[in-house]
Amino acid sequence: MSNLEDLYREIILDHYRSPRNRGELASPPAIRVEGFNPLCGDELVVYLNVEDGTLSDIKITGHGCSISQSSSSLMSAAVKGKSLEQVREIIGTFKQLMTVHESTLAHDGEPAKVDLRAIGELAALQGVVKFPVRIKCATLAWNTLSQGLDQLD
């Protein structure tokens, strides 16, 4: 059961039951991006308001498993109000967290070299890397957010 508790940490269950920044933003002006995981049928819509180089607001709708839903909720809390530069940095750090390093997995299951203190609650998602089929669930919202930011360029 220890593996399972690693995956379904209390923070994750909390964000699953009470997702943050749930809802829609008027689009336009908000950027609206859809994300799909055809394997599980998870669907997300991410709305972004960007003002003066800052992600001033973010809302997310959709449905999916606890991992995809909590990851999108945690993401929204982590990036809201941050400068676009900071947002891209957080995305990069999260993707690094989700990268499976098989050599390290073989020892203690921890991914390599991510400063967990710097990412706050997002660290709760690190247990996902032990369940490779679920990584796609965790990264869905983040890939969707990245696509939205790409539309700004």
């Binding site: 059961m1 399972l4 269950l13 599980c40 669907e43 449905h63 498993c65 606890s66 839903q69």
Partner: protein, 411 residues
């Protein structure tokens, strides 16, 4: 007289010895793929160790034996489904999906013209939907659906109206999501009355009830080897000899020709016309062994056992979770098979499957390649448990216990 004992089937099945996350495996995914008994695995090993050679046209001893083994598998399957024309009506394919593609791309292209209707149902697997949509793109046919009622059964109240212009009725004998068993004999009568042919997707039923194509009075039957205790990589298309004789070739290449010249080719006749290239010989041998094994069990006894498992599981699921677990499929046992799709309030199917895996319980989350059906019931996914001839009531015990953990974990 057979002496079917599910515990014996279990001990014949090596994979049942696996330990998953510290628990003995509780395999409840036979609707996806069944577990082969030792007899099947050994038949394939023996084939490779003693007889392997390419089939047909070989003169040396092992080539003759390989051809005999391949063709005797074809005979075993013809006997198993009561093919009136014998093994000459059995085409080996890669899987049930390829069998449907063969019907659509060979029979369909040759026999359907713009405006002709292929009637399917809302509960079909994508394998019996997408090939018809693809044919629609090239042939301008119409694809029409028989609706599924709120009782999870086909709504046949307007069937005569729906049959207008229909050349082929293509329908599953048993839904891989709902477990619903469809009235194939009745539908065959309807199809023929309207001058149409009927194709049956027997992938879910062929290892769980007796299939007699003559008694059903159908025109095409398709199924997969790996859902009937056989190996992956082999499927079957059965159709009547007269239909097969008029069907143009499907894939081109070696083996399917009578002659090839600089200006063209003449296809072979019979099933080999549809078996281009070196076929899955070991897989055919394995499937032959699977069919003989199933015959040894006695399908009537298997049906009785799986009905008892399903009835018990449905009762315990309805009683055990204070209404939080909903079965997406018929609740009564009339015309229902051993597939149980679950929708659990507040717990996503992927999370259920993940928690269950920690207890060694194998259930399948997802849309089960039946997205139109899932949409019909407003679902993105279900968690599906399905039984096989090796399943026991103790499997349900473990399922219920693990499900309890999943439900309480997500509160």
């Amino acid at each position: 007289m057979t002496s079917y004992d599910p515990r014996r089937v279990r001990s014949d099945t090596p994979l049942m010895n696996r330990v998953i996350n510290g628990h003995p495996i509780t395999y409840l995914d036979s609707a996806s793929s069944s577990l082969p008994p030792r007899a099947v695995i050994e038949a394939m090993s023996r084939y490779y160790e003693l007889r392997h050679a390419n089939v047909h046209r070989g003169v040396f001893q092992t080539a003759v034996e390989a051809t005999d083994a391949y063709e005797s598998a074809r005979e075993a399957i013809a006997n198993f489904i009561g093919a009136p024309g014998g093994s000459g009506e059995i085409v080996f394919t890669k899987n049930a999906t390829e069998s449907f593609n063969l019907i659509a791309k060979s029979w369909g292209r040759a026999n359907l013209t713009p405006g002709d209707v292929v009637l399917i149902t809302e509960m079909e697997h994508h394998a019996n939907i997408v090939p018809w949509f693809q044919l629609r793109e090239v042939n301008g046919i119409e694809v029409r659906f028989i609706p599924v009622g709120d009782d999870f059964r086909l709504d046949l109240s307007n069937i005569d109206e729906l049959m207008t212009g229909v050349k082929l009725l293509s329908v599953t004998s048993m839904s891989n999501v709902l477990g619903t068993i469809n009235p194939i004999k009745e539908l065959a009568e309807v199809a023929h009355r309207h001058g149409a042919l009927i194709a049956v997707d027997a992938a879910q039923s062929v290892a769980h009830s007796a299939t007699d194509v003559r008694d059903l009075d159908v025109d095409f039957v398709i199924f997969s080897g790996h859902k009937m205790l056989g190996p992956t990589g082999i499927g079957v298309l059965w159709t009547r000899e007269d239909i097969l004789a008029d069907m143009p070739p499907f894939l081109g290449g070696g083996g399917m020709i009578a002659d090839v010249r600089l200006d063209g080719y003449t296809p072979a006749s019979g099933p080999t016309r549809f078996e281009a290239g070196t076929p899955p010989i070991a897989e055919a041998v394995g499937l032959g062994a699977a069919v003989r094994y199933l015959e040894g069990l006695g399908m009537a006894d298997v049906v009785r056992h799986e009905r008892s498992l399903t009835e018990d599981a449905l009762t315990r699921l309805a009683d055990g979770f204070a209404g939080r677990v909903r079965v997406i499929g018929p609740h009564d046992m009339a015309a229902r098979g051993a597939v149980i799709s679950l929708d659990v309030d507040g717990v996503h199917p992927h999370d259920i499957a993940q928690v269950l895996d920690q207890f060694g319980v194998c259930v399948r989350p997802g849309h089960h390649c039946a997205k139109p059906l899932m949409r019909r019931f407003g679902l993105a996914a279900t968690a599906r448990a399905s039984f096989g001839p090796y399943s026991l009531h103790s499997d349900t015990d473990v399922l219920i216990e693990a499900l309890g953990h999943a439900v309480s974990m997500f509160g």
